[in-house]
């Protein structure tokens, strides 16, 4: 029955033509969506998943079954995404550290009001006393340079404390950003599991979630794992942030040192274990780096002040009295640099004389020696300060180097990710042409079948005469 096969073939062909039209349209949709999102952050290109339909066998003759668009697939590399998240954490950690330390190091640069310059001026004004011990202008110079030195210590200590407070502020802000992101990610996880349950592709939701997870990794080091309930995100040390559709809130509370402490959702203090990202860097700079600088500065201020005061006590002032303390320094030790001040106001109170007579300069040598002799720390004031400058400079330089190294690494990873997931305008343009041609051809099939059907119908009509 050859004509029956022919009639069935014609409608099958029509069906196949319509399927081809639908598939081409779907593919054009995907292409236009890719082009539309070419510059959308976190967008992963989608490719149409097209599959051939099952063949049909009729009377020993095999015919093709047409085509189906099974869906749109996002092209992503999960392993690459994980690496990018890790590097993003390290990058933002290095950047935060570098920014904080570049603020810190301005207090250790030669500016004219820094400790280095103040030490130099104080030292040279003391040497000037040696050649003219009874000159009131030279004496006043020592007092004012002493005040500048104390001021330089105060400014540096306050500058360090300010950076520390800024870091503390950042801890609170970052924790609140982390909580917002955790909540959003949990919501997206829940949406995604619903879509998956319904058998739908959740490419867009996944893109959004990946983007949020990457934002989260900027804030703190995280570890991402997949479970049956969806994505599980914890901080590097295991404090849970997101478990599938559930999010856990971090809290902050003022600690005994006045700094904000980070608590996990059950109220345990996890501050010291947080690493990576803005939060990790802020906590490290706030709790370790700056306190270490401050303690060295305080030790220097305390020991230098007491060495100079001891030298002052060895001599006599212009009125023949035993020299009294030149510097006053808070006895507590912490806050020594911030509280260092010149205790005497009258230039005649400088203990220049070694024998009590007003014109003697015998004690100047002791005063000058206080600046060059080793302090109880084993180093002279200049050496101690120069060590500190080295440390600050080295830390800042390391943070900068690390930041640019990670930036290069991250760029490479992003390039790799982009080579997998990025939208290529050239490729999409080519696809546009392909799918356009396919659509035109499919339309031609439909119109051809229509023409053939008309011929067949007309044929039937002529037979009825």
């Amino acid at each position: 029955m050859p004509d029956v096969i022919a009639m069935g073939g014609l409608s099958t062909s029509l069906l196949i033509g319509v399927q081809a039209l639908e598939v081409s349209q779907g593919a054009l949709n995907a292409t236009s969506n890719n082009i539309a999102n070419a510059n959308t952050a976190g967008y992963t290109r989608e490719v149409p998943a097209i599959s051939e339909n099952a063949e049909s066998v009729s009377g020993g003759v095999v015919t093709g079954g047409g085509v189906t668009l099974t869906g749109l697939q996002s092209v992503r590399d999960e392993l690459l995404n994980l690496q990018i998240q890790q590097q993003t954490s390290s990058q933002s950690q290095a950047d935060t550290t570098s920014t904080a330390l570049s603020q810190v190091q301005t207090y250790f640069s030669t500016s004219g009001t820094d400790i280095e310059t103040a030490f130099a001026n104080f030292s040279s004004s003391l040497a000037a006393l040696s050649s003219n011990p009874s000159s009131s202008s030279q004496q006043a110079g020592v007092i004012s340079n002493g005040k500048n030195l104390a001021q330089a210590f105060n400014n540096t200590a306050n500058g360090l404390t300010n950076v520390q407070s800024a870091m503390d502020e950042q801890v609170t802000q970052t924790v609140s950003q982390i909580n917002t992101l955790s909540k959003q990610i949990a919501q997206l996880n829940s949406q995604l599991s619903q879509l998956t349950a319904a058998g739908q592709s959740g490419g867009t939701v996944e893109d959004q979630r990946d983007q949020l997870v990457q934002n989260l990794s900027q804030l703190t080091g995280i570890s991402v794992t997949q479970s049956s309930n969806g994505e599980v995100i914890t901080t590097g040390n295991g404090t849970p942030l997101v478990m599938g559709s559930q999010s856990f809130t971090l809290q902050t509370t003022t600690g005994s040192d006045g700094m904000q402490q980070v608590l996990d959702s059950s109220g345990n203090n996890v501050t010291s274990s947080i690493q990576g990202g803005t939060l990790g860097a802020s906590i490290t700079v706030r709790d370790q780096t700056i306190p270490s600088y401050l303690s060295q500065l305080n030790t220097l201020a305390t020991q230098f002040a007491s060495a100079f005061n001891a030298a002052q006590a060895k001599g006599y002032d212009s009125n023949g009295n035993t020299g009294q303390a030149f510097f006053s320094v808070p006895s507590s030790g912490t806050g020594a640099a911030a509280g260092l001040a010149v205790a005497i106001t009258d230039p005649s109170q400088i203990a220049i004389s070694s024998d009590g007579s007003a014109g003697s300069n015998g004690n100047v040598a002791n005063l000058s020696a206080a600046l060059t002799a080793a302090l109880p720390s084993g180093k002279s004031p200049a050496q101690s300060f120069s060590d500190l400058v080295y440390q600050v400079g080295n830390d800042a330089s390391n943070a900068n180097t690390q930041s640019s190294a990670i930036a290069a690494n991250l760029l490479q990873l992003t390039n790799q990710q982009s080579s997998v997931s990025g939208v290529s305008i050239d490729e999409e343009t080519t696809n546009l042409i392909r799918y356009q041609t396919a659509y035109e051809a499919a339309a031609r099939i439909v119109s051809t079948i229509q023409a053939l059907s008309t011929v067949t119908l007309d044929m039937g009509a002529s037979q009825s005469y």
Binding site: L101, S102, Q105, T106, F108, S109, T110, E116, T117, F119, A120, N121, S123, S124, S125, A127, A128, S130, S131, N132, P133, S134, S353, S354, D355, S357, A358, G359, S360, N361, G362, V364, A365, S368, L371, A382, F385, S386, V389, Y390, Q391, V392, G393, N394, A396, S397, A407, A408, L411, T414, N415, S418, S419, V420, G422, V423, S424, I425, D426, T429
Partner: protein, 300 residues
């Protein structure tokens, strides 16, 4: 492998890198410094702390050296005048002691010697910028003032100590001799011997004049010996001045090598960085706008 279609991040990274290199090069040329903050070179910044304190000290030591030199020279020239005066007193004493001079002339000579005494006292009260040079460390008051109770007619207000001026980190030079040592010590008393010469001449006794004259001449040779202290100080100060000049040069060159730039190299780097930056910009301008669309005819 699929080629990364997105060139923007790479281009931006390249542009940022060449821009930052250009900024650094520009800053170095503009400031003449290769280190403007500690992180640029931590160890050079640390060394600069010592360098700038040392530089300030060397500047001050140089000033101290030149003012100490003036002090020492002033004191030395005072002593030289004293020597001249004493020589004059000795010849007057010798003249008075030969027994042929009449009483009124002796009185005239005595007046002359008295004048010499007051000129020696005024030399002993020499000051340099308000600092009395022969008062020991009591340099704020005149060392000798007239006093009727003292045998020589003058009393010493100073003390027996001396000041030393710092001219190096561990170096100082003694800049004064106390008057009690130079002019009025118990064995060779310049002022006392002149004063006894005056009384001897007034008394007219040849033997007394002779003995007084010989005391004056002993005082003269003693004062002459004391000038050696100043001569030595002057030598030491002159050589220290040279040393400090060299030290200034050393510190400046150390500073240049720590944080300075080599201008030729810096200018060359700047121009190389400029070229690199323009090349990166030109490449970006050429590559970024191009897609397949540029080559397809617009659909009719």
């Amino acid at each position: 492998m699929r080629v990364n279609p997105n060139m923007v991040p790479n281009m931006l990274a390249d542009l940022a890198q060449s821009q930052s290199a250009l900024n650094t090069a520009l800053q170095e040329v503009a400031t003449g410094k290769s280190v403007s903050q500690p992180s640029d070179n931590p160890s050079a910044s640390a060394d600069m702390v010592q360098n700038s304190i040392e530089t300030a000290n060397v500047d001050q030591y140089t000033q101290n050296t030149s003012s100490a030199l003036s002090m020492v020279q002033t004191a030395d020239s005072s002593l030289s005048s004293v020597v001249t005066s004493l020589t004059q007193a000795i010849s007057l004493g010798t003249e008075a002691s030969n027994g042929t001079i009449n009483a009124s002339n002796l009185q005239a000579i005595a007046t002359q010697v008295q004048g010499i005494l007051s000129s020696v006292v005024s030399q002993a009260n020499t000051d340099y910028e308000g600092v009395y040079l022969f008062g020991g460390t009591a340099s704020t008051t005149a060392p000798y003032t007239a006093s009727s109770s003292s045998a020589s007619g003058y009393t010493y207000n100073g003390n027996n100590n001396s000041n030393s001026v710092a001219i190096g980190d561990d170096q100082s030079v003694q800049v004064n001799l106390p008057g009690s040592q130079v002019f009025s010590n118990s064995t060779t008393d310049v002022l006392g011997s002149l004063s006894s010469l005056v009384s001897a001449i007034q008394s007219g006794s040849s033997s007394a004049i002779e003995s007084a004259t010989s005391s004056v001449s002993a005082a003269l040779s003693y004062v002459d010996q004391q000038r050696v202290v100043y001569g030595n100080a002057e030598t030491q100060l002159n050589s220290q001045e040279t040393y400090l000049q060299n030290e200034t040069v050393n510190l400046t060159s150390q500073q240049t090598s720590l944080i300075g730039i080599d201008e030729a190299t810096a200018a060359e780097t700047l121009s190389a960085d400029e070229t690199a930056n323009s090349a990166a910009l030109a490449a970006a301008a050429k590559v970024l706008p191009t897609t397949l669309l540029n080559y397809l005819s617009t659909p009719q």
